[in-house]
């Protein structure tokens, strides 16, 4: 469904139900990995179906996912001595000779007109034992997503941590020169593939936020020459405007139960404060008062607390208050600038934009003790967002003059840059785990 809204000033905004972009918009490079990634082999899958070539290279996608995590070193298929597709055909001695610790074999099987099964088995090479075997059904359009699900299963079995290959990211792009810019809100796989435009506008879009069920995105749009907050449903492209009050409407975030938004309003007094908005009954509740700037709210995962940015102490710092409002307690104490908090999934730390000796970098701050660990190395880093397994952060940074995205593991060891072929990329947000 495509909706076009025009007004007399030739501002246009296009809304899409996940319209696909013709080519992959993002390109990913590894800039720093772990010292000893696990040697693993994902043998090219067999094909059981019509025609000589399978409709999708499952093994290549799984291999790319595991490599991109920085924790695995997949063997180049050209170096494989044999290519079994079933467990009973695996000769473990051959793989031990190559120094491989884990081998994965499988087949893509056509089961119907546009239906398939992704079948795989995973073995510990030294013990010769099967670790995992599974048959994952997938329709033709689900082959990419199904392969990501398999990569997630493998990752969880080997690391004990739930994989994020089947999650999504949303981000904003800006292309064109001053006075003629196009802004887009895009949803893609974490590898940058499968990118789809949600919104396209001649005016800025900001602050995308995923709903807890991954079905909607809230965002700020300036299509009316001022800030307003919208919620758009991904599947249908339908959207509704949830806040267009006088003054600023900004920084929307969802409560963990999906029933409310926390947001920033300035109303007519011009003073930014935090409010919550109940999405079913539209009841608005003001949580902060006072002349300082209060903005960038975020909920703790258990829904009990709201963390936010306030400059009541002179410069921006992060504070915490009960989700019902009340006294706020300061949480960041290192550095003159700490803003835009986001909670880790376990609630122990916040990721913030932190000014470190003149450089704006992403730091993790322990919520209870205030210990600050600077993770990134740029000059203008911003917008950190946790992957739902808490292992990685995605954030916005620069490469030269271009706005690009970066990912960094929360232990600070694995760094990656994600750049667009044209224009700037900014404000990335990682989706929750998919709810099936």
């Amino acid at each position: 469904m495509l909706i076009v809204v025009r007004n007399f000033l030739s501002i246009f905004i296009l809304l899409f139900a996940l319209a696909p972009i013709a080519r992959a918009e993002l390109r990913i490079e590894i800039t720093q990995g772990v010292d000893k990634p696990v040697p693993i082999a994902i043998v090219p899958f067999g094909w059981e179906g019509r025609g000589d070539t399978p409709p999708f290279d499952v093994a290549a996608l799984i291999s790319a996912d595991l490599a991109r995590s920085g924790r695995f070193a997949p063997l180049d298929p050209d170096d494989m001595l044999e290519r079994p597709t079933l467990g009973r055909d695996v000769d473990f001695q051959d793989w031990r000779l190559l120094g491989i610790e884990v081998v994965i074999v499988g087949r893509l099987i056509e089961t119907g007109r546009d239906d398939y099964t992704i079948q795989f088995q995973m073995f510990n090479v030294y013990r010769g034992e099967q670790l995992l075997g599974y048959r994952q059904p997938a329709s033709k359009t689900q082959l990419r997503g199904g392969s990501h699900l398999v990569a997630d299963m493998i990752y969880e079995e080997l690391t004990g941590i739930r994989g994020i290959f089947a999650t999504r990211i949303a981000y904003i792009t800006a292309t064109g020169g001053p006075g003629a810019q196009i802004f887009r809100l895009i949803v893609a796989d974490p590898d940058g593939e499968n990118a789809r435009i949600l919104v396209e506008s001649t005016e800025p879009i900001m602050s995308p936020a995923w709903s807890p069920d991954s079905r909607k995105l809230a965002y700020v749009s300036f299509e009316k020459q001022r800030s307003e907050i919208y919620i758009q449903t991904l599947r249908s492209g339908a959207r509704r405007r949830v806040s267009s009050r006088a003054g600023v409407n900004g920084a929307p975030v969802w409560s963990p139960d999906g029933r409310s938004l926390a947001l920033t309003l300035s109303k007519t007094d011009g003073n930014l404060d935090i409010y919550t908005l109940n999405l079913s009954n539209q009841v608005l509740k003001r949580l902060t008062h006072g002349p300082s700037i209060e903005t960038e709210p975020t909920w703790s995962p258990d829904g009990r607390w709201i963390f936010f940015t306030s400059d009541r102490a002179g410069g921006p710092q992060v504070y915490r208050m009960s989700a019902n409002g009340g006294t706020a307690k300061r949480v960041t104490f290192e550095g003159a600038y700490n803003a835009r908090p986001r909670l880790a999934p376990d609630g122990q730390k916040i990721a913030v934009v932190h000014n470190d000796r003149g450089n704006y970098r992403i730091a993790l701050v322990d919520v209870d003790r205030g210990y600050t660990q600077v993770l990134t190395k740029g000059h203008l880093d911003e917008s950190p967002s946790y992957a739902p397994n808490g292992e990685t952060l995605i954030y916005a940074t620069r490469r030269g003059l271009q706005g690009v995205l970066g990912t960094v593991s929360t232990d600070g060891r694995i760094h990656r840059i994600i750049s667009s072929l044209e224009g700037d990329v900014r404000e990335p947000v990682w989706s929750p785990f998919r709810v099936n």
């Binding site: 800025p204 001022r226 600023v248 900004g250 011009g270 921006p316 835009r340």
Partner: protein, 168 residues
């Protein structure tokens, strides 16, 4: 937006010119003319107002700049705003949008806050000088609409601003 700005400046000049001359009269050295007494017998002179030539004058400066992390108005700009306030108070049909901006450093929504505070600072000065609240509209764009692309103090200084945009 651009269209409105281009029309307004000539309109502004015509409005001011109309106050100062009607038919032949003498002009003194400052360029302000006096209105001759017509046949109506009315000998009260209406007040003239200064005419600014070119973009360097007070009415041409419609962007107020701010220091890093600052939202208060420096004294040079206060004089400029006084001029705008007089114009607006004398022309109640004219509205003004006060668009506040910030440079790109730091988080985006906090920068919306800085832009809003700057726009509100300008609004307060105009209000104190007699501009009606209803003819002003303060909006923040944060760092989302830079005047100067690129990084470094030169670009940042140009982006920390409030733009006054007049319309009728």
């Amino acid at each position: 937006m651009k269209l409105i700005r281009q029309i307004l400046f000539p309109v502004l000049m015509i409005v001011l010119a109309g106050c100062t001359s009607e038919s032949t009269g003498t002009r003194d050295a400052s360029g302000v003319g006096s209105v001759p007494i017509g046949g109506s017998g009315d000998d009260v002179y209406r007040a003239g107002s200064p005419m600014d030539e070119g973009a360097g004058g007070i009415m041409g400066t419609r962007i107020i700049y701010f220091g890093f992390d600052k939202t208060d108005i420096e004294s040079d700009y206060r004089d400029i705003l006084a001029g705008h306030a007089r114009f607006l108070a004398a022309n109640p049909d004219v509205d003004v949008r006060l668009e506040g901006h910030a440079d790109e450093r730091g988080s985006r929504e906090y920068n919306i806050g800085l832009g809003e505070r700057r726009a509100q600072s300008v609004r307060e000065i105009l209000l104190l000088r007699g501009v009606s609240s209803g003819s002003m509209n303060a909006i923040s764009f944060g760092e989302e609409r830079p005047a100067a692309m690129g990084s470094g103090e030169e670009a940042w200084a140009q982006n920390r601003r409030v733009e006054l945009i007049f319309s009728e």
